[in-house]
Amino acid sequence: MSIMTMVQAINNALDIKLSEDWSIVVYGEDVGFGGGVFRVTEGLQRKYGVERVFDSPLAESGIAGTALGMAVSGLRPVVELQFEGFTFPAFNQIISNVSRLQNRSRGKFNVPVVIRFPYGGGINALEHHSDSPEALFAHIPGLKVVIPSTPYDAKGMLISAIESNDPVIFMEPKRIYRAIRQEVSDEKFTLPLGKAKVVQEGTDITLVAFGAMIRECRKAVAMAEEAGISVELIDLRSVYPIDRETVGRSIRKTGRMVIVAEAHESFSVGSELIAVANEEAFLYLEAPPVRVMGFDTVVPLAQGERYYVISPDRIYYEIEKSIHF
């Protein structure tokens, strides 16, 4: 056991996989010599050499496209795109090929690629460094899209993602990269992809979130408890496939749902969760499920973020409204 941040847990997962599987290569912009702009891959090039952990040219389409080529010819690339706002040059490769080649080749080729990138706001960053594009990726058939909220989950889910024979989009909530410290086993372990986690059981209302929003939700849950409201907090962990079983079961129990996510509200994971509530728990609903999400606006620069970033009291406000519906 060690106390780890999420950055350290991800580094540890990469280290474990690099040491046990020669077919794994790790690359992207600045990930080799520099160890990544968030230092996620620090020390790995020194340990595993420049052939296995390296800096690629600065071209995201090339990073994703070459990863596909490596994956169909015996390697298991784990690539980093530097920020979520820079994933879009790679989007064509991801949507046109990475997600489709297995189907196009009728299973002749698998595409065991992991595409990692930091996402999310609240860090006073420049434009293109605060977005939450999970719904864009989740809408693409053929991908798995997962988002950890703790160092422990990050390690177990990343190892599972690397061992998956399907392409996985692994989104890392940069706001809590170093904000949470947790005891994590130094040994190898995996966590199933596609499974949500009930963080805290409750009976009055279901609160669903993921990534950096789990921390905010915990604070809102504490506020609710003071007001005598029992909240069931679910960490979705996997955006696609979505764990409708866990979410549905919880809503059937509580009859209410509040969804919290940083992304733009329309056509979002929040929208999908409302569809899940509709399909899995329609007759159990006591109040309409609500979304506490980002506006359908560009994520503002630092001075405007106080409006955009979701605070615990804003979550609590919606919990209270739902209870009194």
Binding site: G69, S105, R106
Partner: protein, 369 residues
């Protein structure tokens, strides 16, 4: 890229001077005797036969499409010398990362006409090329395949295999960002990839002059620090020499190369396209004089090595190809499960649920009958 490391043809036919490698002219006369590859008569005869086979298969495919027995198809007419020269050089262990106009090379790698017909009849099983070793499916999304080739090249180098990657793109594709990125990655990584631009002068209706201000397309290699050469793509011997040289260079660990095969799409872009709308008849006529089959045949006649009973051979090929088409045409099995089965290695519950929902609809529909 050290100049003295370069094979001589890459030095002698410098794309910066817009030189083009050519060995025989339109009448089949040798114009570069020193460069003529050493090939015995049987091999040359075999090359002609393969080109003829591709041409007939291509003509028949268009005709099947016109009869409504097949869907949109991408003709190869006029570009056969490139495909067969590549096919005769590519080895079993080498990789083929195609675009969508390389029929002869696909066949050389073990893809069957039945599969090609099945693919253009709208069945993914045809496009999987499942028994052809190291062949990726056809790439419809322009230019994206070049990155896959570079990635495979990295893997080949990493695993220290004696394999070379052959990949293709059209003239229009060179305007895509992925073209430049892939050549740049390949240059930095020094991977064994042979990039071919089939410059057939048009991207659907858009001429090369609207794609680039470069003097030719081979010259684009210069910026990425890899060797490039412009080759007469309708000259089988020139293409053969280019591929033979490129294969040796790539195998030696010196990195990637770019070949511009200067050719002409005598047919349409696809069966949905009508080239008479955007190009002059005289232009087509001029290029018909450079038909790669006619050129090779004239060469063989000039050399006194022509001994093919072409009419008989055509009939023989037609029967074979027709048989493969009928097999593809009779394969109408496309179970619902095929939609879902290959999306993931383990089918997510979400997909199972959607399939089940549709099956319930089907059984309701069945009962209503």
């Amino acid at each position: 890229m050290a100049q003295n490391d370069l094979p001589s043809i890459f030095r002698d036919f410098d794309p910066l001077e817009d030189k083009m490698l050519r060995i025989i002219d339109n009448d089949g006369n040798i114009v570069s005797k020193d460069l003529m590859p050493v090939l015995d008569d049987r091999t040359i005869t075999d090359a002609y036969k393969q080109m003829l086979y591709e041409r007939i298969a291509d003509e028949m495919a268009i005709s099947f499409q016109r009869q409504g027995r097949m869907y949109t198809y991408t003709p190869n007419l006029g570009q056969e010398a490139i495909h067969i020269a590549a096919g005769m050089n590519i080895r079993d262990e080498d990789w083929l990362v195609p675009a969508f106009r390389e029929m002869g090379t696909l066949l050389a790698k073990g893809v069957t006409m039945k599969e090609i017909f099945l693919f253009y009849s709208g069945n993914e099983h045809g496009g999987s090329f499942k028994n052809a070793k190291h062949v990726l499916p056809i790439a419809i999304s322009i230019g994206t395949q070049l990155h896959h080739a570079t990635g495979i090249g990295y893997s080949v180098k990493y695993r220290k295999r004696d394999e070379v990657v052959f990949t293709f793109i059209g003239d229009g594709g060179t305007s895509e960002g992925d073209f430049s990125e892939a050549l740049n990655f390949a240059g930095v990584w020094k991977v064994p990839v042979v990039f071919t631009i089939q410059n057939n002068q048009y991207a659907i209706s858009v001429p090369v002059s609207s794609q680039t201000n470069s003097i030719n397309l081979a010259v684009k290699s210069v910026a990425f620090g890899i060797p490039g050469i412009k080759v007469d793509g309708n000259d089988f011997f020139a293409m053969y020499l280019a591929y033979k040289t490129a294969l040796e260079y790539a195998r030696s660990g010196r990195g990637a190369l770019l070949i511009e095969a200067f050719t002409y799409r005598l047919g349409a872009h696809t069966t949905s396209d009508d080239p008479t709308k955007y190009r002059e008849k005289v232009e087509e006529k001029r290029w018909r004089l450079a038909d790669p089959l006619i050129r090779l045949k004239r060469y063989m006649e000039n050399q006194g090595i022509w001994n093919i009973d072409e009419e008989r051979l055509k009939e023989e090929y037609k029967l074979q190809i027709d048989k493969e088409f009928i097999e593809a045409e009779n394969n109408k099995s496309y179970p619902l499960g095929d939609l879902f089965q290959y999306m993931y290695t383990d089918i997510p519950d979400e997909l199972k649920r959607q399939k089940q929902k549709y099956e319930q609809f089907l059984s309701w529909k069945e009962k209503r009958k």
